[in-house]
């Protein structure tokens, strides 16, 4: 099915109910590392939930400062991942600490997974995953193991909503650039 008609409907907010398991069984698309979770009005994304190795909580706050610094130093360091937003949360279940990592992005997870591993390895953004129970120790050289961990800990959505459905971050940036250019043009016409 073409994405084009959907993308024309950006002005019409949309919600999508997703079956149990995260896939529409009659139209599962295969990626290189397995079936792809469907694109929704809120684009692609994942929600990884995993238990923290006890005593490692301070590392998460240090990680947050590292990410802030890395992005400030090189604003396009995550560009390849085609992101809209990322959110990181810590919470407790029965006294144990858990970590949640939610991302909204424009390509299915499979496409740029190896690039993500490379970015994490190169920028030191890895530290936070190494504090999770069950994370493969050889992840830097074993992309399939990294990918399996992420897939195993992904909790698929059962409902997603988009106020401007299916619009990519690139299109949003283009629209804002266009607005700025028009504004500049009007200034020049005065």
């Amino acid at each position: 099915m073409s994405d084009a008609p959907k993308q024309n409907d950006w002005s019409k907010p949309a919600a999508m109910a997703i079956p149990e398991g995260g896939y529409f069984k009659d139209k599962i698309e295969q990626g290189r590392y397995g079936p792809i979770f469907p694109k929704t009005p809120a684009c692609y994304g994942f929600s990884i939930i995993a238990k923290i190795i006890p005593g490692r909580e301070p590392n998460f706050y240090e990680y947050a400062r590292n990410i802030e610094k890395a992005v400030a130093g090189q604003p396009d360091c995550l560009a390849v991942l085609k992101l809209h937003y990322l959110r990181w949360n810590l919470f407790k279940i029965k006294g144990d600490n858990y970590f949640q990592y939610m991302g909204i992005f424009d390509t299915d997870f499979d496409k740029y997974t190896e690039d993500a591993v490379a970015i994490f390895a190169a920028t030191g953004l890895n530290t936070v995953f190494e504090n999770l129970e069950g994370f493969p120790k050889d992840w830097k050289t074993n992309a399939p193991a990294f990918i399996k961990f992420v897939r195993d800990h992904h909790c698929p959505s059962f409902l997603e909503y988009g106020e401007y459905p299916y619009v990519s971050a690139e299109e949003i940036k283009k629209a804002l650039k266009l607005k700025a250019a028009f504004s500049d043009m009007l200034d020049q016409m005065q």
Partner: protein, 441 residues
Amino acid sequence: MLEFDDIQYILLTRAPAITGRYEFLSFRNAAGGRAWLAAVLETVHSVEQARASVQKDNRWVSVAFTWNGLRALGMDEASLATFPEEFKQGMVARAEMLGDTGANHPQNWVGGLAGPELHALVILFARDTQERQRCEAEHKRLVARCAGVEVLSSLDLEATPPFEYAHDHFGYRDRLSQPVIEGAGEEPTPGSGGPLKPGEFILGYPDEEGVIANSPQPEILARNGSYMAYRCLQEHVGAFRDFLREHGKTPEEQELMAAKLMGRWRSGAPLVLTPDKDDPALGADPQRNNDFNYKQMDPHGYAVPLGSHIRRMNPRDTAANMNRRRMIRRGGTYGPPLPEEAPEDGIERGIAAFIICASLIRQFEFAQNVWVNDRNFHELGNERDPVCGNQDGTLEYKIPKRPIRKKITGLPAFTNVRGGAYFFLPGLKALRYLASLGHAR
């Protein structure tokens, strides 16, 4: 230090051949398969041998196996399990992700390539047709001597004239952008990037991450081998020429349209360097014909459209981790050339090529899935590679142009996949090990 005496020549060397033949085999009997291998491996050149005798040799042979083929030779399950998942599954099982759907679906493939009985491949390149026919007859006698060995199909290669330079049936100059491997003794041409670590293409060596990736076991299989994706692409020359005539009134306009689909003029001259007029001397000059980038020199695709073939197959400075996505290409054209001005004759012709890399999933499959067949590559929305992508007549092709771009709707398929498979290309010691599997236990 690369072990040139153990690496099959095809990985690092190109034979000066104008013809060749691929034979696809099945082993009904393990001992027969091993007897065939024991005989044929005597003709397989290492890189060292090929380099030493390239002037006097008239034929060059390579041998490779599917995962089913390794089992058919008698490899044990423990060893079979050490191969990567995508190789075990094979190209047919990966078809949807690769974009091999519709007309390109494996059910439409020919030559027995889509079935589990495909076990082995022997690649012959020959200096002339006479030598090819001599080798063909010799191989026929060998197969007849080996119990249970069957040739499923074969494909004869023929270079298309003029022979001075390699090109496909559409007329595009080929072999312009090949990666160079560190320690292989070649210098990259300007614009081709630095030499790449051997582990990107040859098993058992450090890759661009500085590590030696997991390799098949036992150890003798883990070194000096590689993986190959075979792709047989039929080229619809009549439809291609009709399309050029439909979209260009003059020969010059038609040439420009051909160039816009590829990203280079058919002479090989890159549109980035000469956007308005062909420059055959530039196209033929390896010191200049690959020396360009996109981010600085053509960010909007006014010269090379964002969805053109070369921009998808090698996005250069507009993709991350390019050094981990490179591939070596070998192969040639098959079928008779269609003379200029001749109408489509219905005879099949095309390209039959091998894409060689250390990781099929990270290199070949990534290129197919993310670059060739992703409709939304570079935010294009509704396009695939105009030359080798899966086209069903419903997609577009956009050519950026000031003030308004040209948008072609309903782009026809100029090529179709006629067959494909994943092969393991062992080193020479590993070939001898495979031939002796029966004796080892």
